[in-house]
């Protein structure tokens, strides 16, 4: 077992990066989904306060998962970074700008007293748009990173071949966000934001499927292994769509955890399928891997760090779920304060 682990530590490191990405997708899609409640405030209903209160602490932690994904790539695979940086230059730039605007919106909606701005359609539209652009750029970047597209391919005339993969990723996220809103936001699947997500994910799945079937021979001619990865991801993403649309016996919590598991399977399966390559056929995980002494310390740090972080996260989410319960039953006088942080 130990010998097997030693021989495959690059795979373990890839899966660890995937774990951070998975956590980011789970928490961020819920948060992004709930921004629709800000865009359509009249649709929030009796649990309006709980939506905002639940999101406030969550988003503080969300970006750390994404930073964790980036830093695990940096720490474990420094040799991959020149490729990664070149391939992701545009999505990373878009992500930074969109996330900056999103943070500005968060400041205005959660910390400021400017109610007139908060109520304006433009401000709400900017918030939702920046949140989705950040999510799209992250999905775009993650897709590029996970399927290991070469910078040459990315920058060359075949760059558009990534479109179906990105659409699939977005469709999965949209479906996930919709179910997350049902669970955390208290909306039911017939309300407009959730329905909008479902409709969007169906259209995106259909568009990407058409595109994919039309273009896959060309893609396969240039990069067979990545095409295999794409095929697998398509199958799993379709399962994701079916699960989201079926809503698993109309129980949001069951659907949410099932979708989270499916997204995890999607990421981890694609990573393991690609192994031993990071970028086929140019970079193997072993060739981009860090020094053995560094990797050993990184794994120990990771285990100890997760021992600290997982219970802390549990405390955070438990506290806020309890807090929201009291808001729902009207037992908390702060309810009238809406989504503001009062000091």
């Amino acid at each position: 077992m130990i010998a097997f682990f030693q021989a495959h530590t690059p795979l373990a490191a890839m899966l660890l990066a995937g774990f951070f990405l998975w956590c980011y997708i789970v928490v961020a899609s819920v948060e992004f989904g709930a921004t629709l409640f800000i865009l359509f405030p009249k649709l929030r209903g009796p649990r309006a306060v709980s939506v905002a209160q639940l999101l406030s602490p969550v988003w503080e932690v969300n970006n750390v998962f994404l930073v964790g994904f980036f830093v695990s790539l940096l720490a474990f695979f420094p040799g991959f970074i020149p490729w990664f940086a070149t391939a992701l230059f545009i999505p990373l730039s878009v992500f930074i700008v969109a996330n900056g605007v999103r943070v500005l919106s968060v400041l205005i909606f959660f910390y400021s007293p400017f109610e007139r701005i908060q109520q304006s359609l433009l401000a709400r539209l900017v918030f939702a748009t920046s949140a989705y652009t950040a999510m799209a750029a992250a999905a775009w970047g993650a897709t590029v990173a996970i399927i290991g597209v070469t910078p040459e391919l990315w920058l060359a005339q075949f760059a558009w071949l990534l479109v179906p993969a990105v659409l699939f990723a977005l469709a999965g996220l949209a479906a996930f966000a919709g179910v997350g809103m049902e669970l955390f936001g208290g909306a039911d699947s017939s309300t407009s934001p959730v329905k909008m997500f479902t409709d969007f994910s169906c259209v995106a799945y259909a568009a990407s499927a058409v595109w994919f079937f039309k273009m896959v021979p060309l893609f396969a001619a240039h990069n067979i292994r990545s095409a295999d990865v794409l095929w697998t991801s398509v199958a799993l993403a379709l399962a994701l769509a079916l699960a989201a649309l079926g809503r698993l016996a109309r129980r949001p919590s069951a659907a949410f955890f099932a979708l989270a598991a499916l997204v995890g399977i999607l990421i981890f399966y694609v990573i393991s399928l690609q192994y031993p390559y990071l970028v086929y056929p140019f970079i193997t995980a072993a060739s981009a891997y860090t020094a053995t002494s560094t990797a050993t310390i990184l794994f120990i740090v990771c285990i100890l760090g997760l021992v600290l972080v997982i219970p802390s996260l549990a405390v955070l989410y438990t506290l806020f779920l309890q807090k929201n319960k009291s808001y729902e039953t009207g037992n908390n006088t702060i309810e009238s304060e809406g989504n503001k942080i009062i000091t």
């Binding site: 503080e60 420094p78 930074i96 500005l104 002494s293 000091t343």
Partner: protein
């Protein structure tokens, strides 16, 4: 220097200057808030509890902006300097990865702390305890990231070799790389400077509030008492930290003499290697002082610029920034002493003005200190091993983001301060 590289360096400088401002407050405010709440509970003083609660709002707002600017710094590492990450990854991977967990703890408990005021009663040790992970997480983040910078200034624990025309680390001891000779002087000096600056900024805000109340009906009100207590509390902390910064600054200068002599020669504009080296401070030449400071005796030989290849000399303007930083350091020690000694000045415009000037000087000295550290290492990104130009990205489009990102920083900074000013001017302390 190619135009793209110049734009890349300008962008990185903009990003770091913006991030450092929010990061230093992100490190300092958690300690300020935690200490104020502790004092409030021990002394059963509601003014201190309210001080902590009011400052926790600023902590949240500044953390939001600091978190995004920190994310941008991390992402720009990849985007602009892939050659640096590819080279130094095996050495800097451990502190970078540890920092993720420190950041996690800080972000998680910041949420817990901010949203649980009053949840367990007015004075709750449980609530105060939740501030400790925020304090520890923020200081750990600062420490770990600064160890990366210390490695860049004085790389250790690595064996390098040119493989296929590219400089690579072929052997690494990650702990030695992390705890190199520059780590202790650099981390201690910068972290204590962050605390000093935060305490002076908090003191300046109290001073400003008192200044505005001078000559009004509110002179003897509970609000005035609240701000007066806050001012004394912050100035006391700031004074203690400013003294420590003086000692750590002295240790840092001695470290430069022994490990980064070219940077010291540039900072002091010392033309030739000599004993009895003079110190040039704000245009004044003090004979023998540099030799005294470096080695304790006037006979100590200090290396001058002539001992190094002129192509490797860093820009000379860092001399003035260093002098400005050192002068600010003296000023920061003097202001609290004046406040303590001249009792009849305590509620005067002069005193309030001095305290506000001290806060601005503290902010300047942190920014100037980082510019001296970073520019003083040029043309290298990892001193003596990897040149900045060799680490730069080949990607096109750097000019575009170098023009767009700073606009975003300005908008974010303006929004954050607008919200803070608006909040505090409309929410006076409650009694």
């Amino acid at each position: 220097m190619s135009p793209d590289l110049l734009w890349g360096r300008v962008l990185m400088a903009d990003t770091l200057a913006f991030h450092i401002f929010f990061a230093l407050l992100g490190v300092g405010i958690p300690l300020l808030v935690s200490l104020a709440e502790l004092v409030g509970m021990v002394r059963r003083d509601d003014d201190f509890l309210q001080f902590a609660r009011r400052w926790s709002f600023a902590m949240g707002v500044l953390f939001v902006v600091g978190a995004i600017s920190g994310t941008v710094v991390a992402v720009e590492f990849f985007m602009l300097w892939p050659g640096f990450v590819a080279f130094a990854g095996p050495a800097i991977g451990v502190p970078m990865f540890l920092e993720v967990f420190a950041f996690f703890i800080e972000a998680i408990f910041l949420g817990v702390y901010m949203f649980t005021w009053g949840r367990w009663g007015n004075r709750s040790w449980r609530h105060w305890l939740s501030s400790l992970p925020v304090v520890l997480g923020s200081v750990a983040s600062a420490f770990l990231i600064t160890t990366v910078n210390a490695f860049m200034n004085e790389p250790s624990g690595i064996v390098t070799q040119v493989v296929g025309g590219v400089q690579k680390i072929v052997q690494v001891n990650p702990w030695q790389a992390m705890f190199g000779p520059a780590t202790l002087p650099e981390t201690s000096h910068s972290i204590v400077a962050y605390y000093t600056t935060t305490f002076f900024v908090a003191a300046a805000i109290c001073a400003l509030a008192l200044w505005r109340r001078r000559g009004t009906m509110e002179t003897n009100s509970e609000t005035t008492r609240y701000f007066s207590k806050g001012l004394v509390f912050c100035l006391t902390l700031a004074f203690a930290c400013a003294l420590v910064v003086g000692f750590t600054g002295d240790a840092s200068a001695r470290f430069l003499a022994s490990h980064e002599p070219l940077k010291l020669a540039t900072i002091e504009q010392l033309p030739a290697t000599e004993s009895h080296a003079p110190l040039r401070f704000l245009g004044i030449r003090i004979p023998d002082a540099l030799s005294e400071l470096v080695g304790g005796t006037p006979q100590t030989v200090v290396q001058g610029l002539a001992a190094f290849d002129p192509a490797l000399w860093p820009p000379s303007f860092i001399h003035w920034l260093f002098d400005g930083m050192a002068a600010s350091g003296f000023f920061l020690v003097v202001v609290p002493i004046v406040y303590a000694v001249r009792r009849n000045w305590r509620h005067s415009r002069i005193m309030f003005g001095l305290i506000i000037a001290a806060a601005l000087a503290a902010l300047f000295s942190v920014e100037a200190g980082w510019i001296v550290t970073e520019v003083g290492r040029q043309p290298y990104v990892v001193a003596g091993v990897l040149k900045t130009a060799a680490a730069f990205t080949p990607s096109a489009g750097v000019v575009v983001i170098a023009l767009v990102f700073p606009v975003l920083y300005v908008v974010l900074a303006v929004a954050a301060f607008w919200i803070l000013i608006r909040h505090y001017t409309h929410h006076a302390p409650l009694h």
